[in-house]
Amino acid sequence: MNRRLVAGFLFSLLPALVTAGEYDLTVDRVDIDTGEFVKQGIGYNGASPGPVLRFKEGETVRINVTNNLDEVTSIHWHGLILPFEQDGVPGISFPGIRPGDTFTYEFPIVQAGTYWFHSHSGFQEPDGAYGAIVIEPEGREPFRYDREYVIQLTDKHPHSGDRIMRNLKMMPDYYNRQQQTVGEFFSDASEQGLLTTLRDRMAWGNMRMMKADVEDLQGFTGLINGKGPEQNWTGLFEAGERIRLRFINSSAMTYFDVRIPGLNMTVVQADGNNVQPVTVDEFRIGVAETYDVIVRPKDAEAYTIFAESMGRSGYARATLAPENGMEAPVPALREPSRLTMADMGGAHDRAHGDMAGMNHGDGDNSMPSDMSGMDHSGMAGMDHGAMARDQSAEGDPFYAKGSGLLPEAANGGKFLSYADLKAQKPLYENRAPTREIELRLTGNMERYTWSINGVKYEDADPIRLQYGERVRFKFVNETMMTHPMHLHGMWSILDVGAGEWNPVKHTVSVQPGTTVFMETEVDATGQWAFHCHLSYHAAAGMFRKVIVEGGPEGSGA
């Protein structure tokens, strides 16, 4: 490279330099007050959640992170596309930030939208080490709003992450207080008959699995922007305004079903990428996902933002109101969810020998719907209308047919499905994948072991990808739990059967008993983490390192 070229290269960096933003974050021990209990946790700049970091697309950011803890820490910028050394996973991206040290992250912002950041060390994230990221686009947003709020959800538990993990290892049902009881047996028996109920309990007992195994971790207080239900975080508005709500699920373990009684919500973005707007009454937000919605309260009334956990063991609540102090009724929790044999997909399959000839109480022993209808290699001529009809006829294709987890809107209206998500603007050219990689999501609830293809991270070789590939990942969920799978560094193009309009995400939920496909354009050299984002599943081994080999020289720059 000659001198002139270098000078030209440097000059081209100038605009980025001019808009470089510098940020300072300290990692601190903090007190977290949920209104129901106060606990010691970890936060940023003295608080949990940490500050909302506001970046602008096109700028280069420098973030100085000072570790005031007595243990190694790290910050992962969840969903951001950046050089792998900046991705913040100790042991994969970098060695971590030692106590007392300051580490300076520096990377260009090449995207816009709602994201978040969190520690990737130990259980610091469930202990409170998380915050929101809002990136303003270079151009205009493809939608309009008068004001915006970050709505960051979490499931704050009185126990520390270490203790929760130990308790789950000691007694996997330690935190499950929704187990089936004698009372439920009798009420089921009176509804469905004694024999049917008995057969049902025997079938589940044979598998040594629990219908009530929807949430591993109960007993939490749902927080919105760090406030418990009683503390009632409130966002102000004037009647008639359009409000953009940036929902981020920063929970360790909890999926939330979100609704605002009296308002419908137009989903305009998922995982930071704009989607074709879809108006819904309620949506389910997986752990680590984000959804941006626009609401338009026409009246000067208070509205409750109600986020009920998927298993109905807890909730978070906040309020939108014309003035502080106003509040709207807080709905009651719905009945706890129960898994069905349909959710048992793989497990059911394996245990089937023992249950030959058994008539399952749920009346549905169908194998998982593997969405074979959605596996289109040539999607060009696909009839989207037919797809929509399938949905209305058979429910959400991203749940096993007959699943006990199938969500329904509390008001009987529209509940968002992955199948409703269509990219607003395709990020990549649609092309056929170069190869498929099957990842079976596996585990054993009774041992609280979680793995991929039956192998825990500690025993696993990395997944090796070649730069320039388009890999089709096939997730087969053989467990009875929902797993939010998160690939770092590269986008996850979720196959919803919409071809080039398939939405681009960073976290893909795979429901029990289902098979879900996502494709990744392998365009980021380096090594990346790929894992279930449920904190205790990832720690138990549902985790992989991905190595991307090859690529242009200096592609990490």
């Binding site: 000078a7 290269f9 440097l10 000059f11 960096l13 100038l14 330099l17 001019v18 280069t60 050089p83 050394e85 100790p90 042991g91 994969i92 970098f94 060695p95 971590g96 520096e106 060390s121 993990m165 130990r166 308790n167 290892k169 000691m170 007694m171 330690y174 207080r177 929704q178 187990q179 089936q180 009881t181 004698v182 009372g183 025997m202 007992g205 044979n206 040594r208 007993g219 023992d354 054993n444 009774e446 041992r447 072991t449 825990k456 991270y457 500690e458 050299t525 380096g526 090594q527 990832a538 720690a539 138990a540 081994g541 985790f543 390192k545 190595i547 020289e553 200096g554 990490g556 720059a557």
Partner: protein, 249 residues
């Protein structure tokens, strides 16, 4: 180029060095705790109770368990004691140290040593066994012992929990032992030696960490073992009312 621009471009030079340094592509190896087998531990008192028998006998009893290890290899210390309050003597006192490893989805194999040091003669045993969760939620612990006297015996522990509510729990337990040869010194006759059957109603007061309970326990000795007990003036069959707590931490 003005001075300010020059300074700025010097800044850019420094900046550009960072991505250039990254060209070295330092693919570090993961030596973090995440890449290591997860080591965990737990301590539980399945029983910690006061027993009052139909013969007005008072006994303090515990059955405790502490483990340390990984999914693949755990070390477990199990301790059981029966302390006769009037006699101020241990009717039973056994400690087992075993290593255990998974052999199937729901069962572990275990092997180790058992040390019995009650009032009276001591015994040391080698132990092998299986422990795990049987279909229909029966917790099973089956052991085979060979003592330092050369006597072989077997023991089966089974437990079933019935949830009245998610906090009120009835636990039914069965503990049966069989001897393959006689060991008169410790009151063991050949054949079925004894059973202990219990039903306890507990309430989870603090998480699952502290659960007080009330219950009934039936102890019975059989065959030669019963005769040996009666010869010593003890009863071959007892009913107890029990009060205690299940503890985990």
């Amino acid at each position: 180029m003005t001075r300010i621009q020059t300074i700025t471009s010097t800044g850019a030079l420094v900046l550009s060095l960072i991505p250039m340094a990254a060209d070295a592509r330092e693919m570090i190896a993961d030596h973090t705790a995440r890449k290591q087998p997860l080591t965990t531990w737990g301590i539980q008192f399945e029983e910690l109770e006061y027993r009052y028998s139909d013969d007005d006998e008072e006994v303090g009893v515990w059955s405790a368990d502490a483990f340390y290890g990984t999914d693949d290899l755990k070390f477990r210390w199990m301790s059981k004691g029966e302390y006769a309050i009037d006699e101020q003597a241990y009717e039973g006192l056994e400690n087992q140290l075993v290593a255990q490893t998974p052999i199937s989805a729901f069962f572990d194999a275990k092997a180790g040593m058992r040390f019995d040091t009650p009032e009276g003669p001591d015994r040391t045993y080698g132990v092998v066994g299986v422990t795990g969760l049987a279909p229909q939620w029966f917790e099973i612990d089956a052991s085979l012992y060979v003592s330092d006297e050369g006597d072989a015996s077997a023991e089966l522990d089974a437990e079933y929990e019935l949830l009245i509510t998610n906090h009120w729990i009835i636990a039914a337990t069965l503990d049966a032992s069989v001897a393959f040869s006689e060991d008169r010194q410790i009151g063991v006759g050949k054949g079925l030696v004894s059973t202990e059957t219990g039903v306890r109603l507990s309430y989870d007061l603090i998480d699952r960490a502290f659960s007080p309970y009330l219950g009934v326990v039936h102890e019975r000795k059989y065959g030669d073992s019963a005769d040996l007990a009666e010869a010593e003036g003890a009863s071959a069959e007892d009913w107890f009312a029990v009060i205690g707590a299940r503890i985990a931490f």
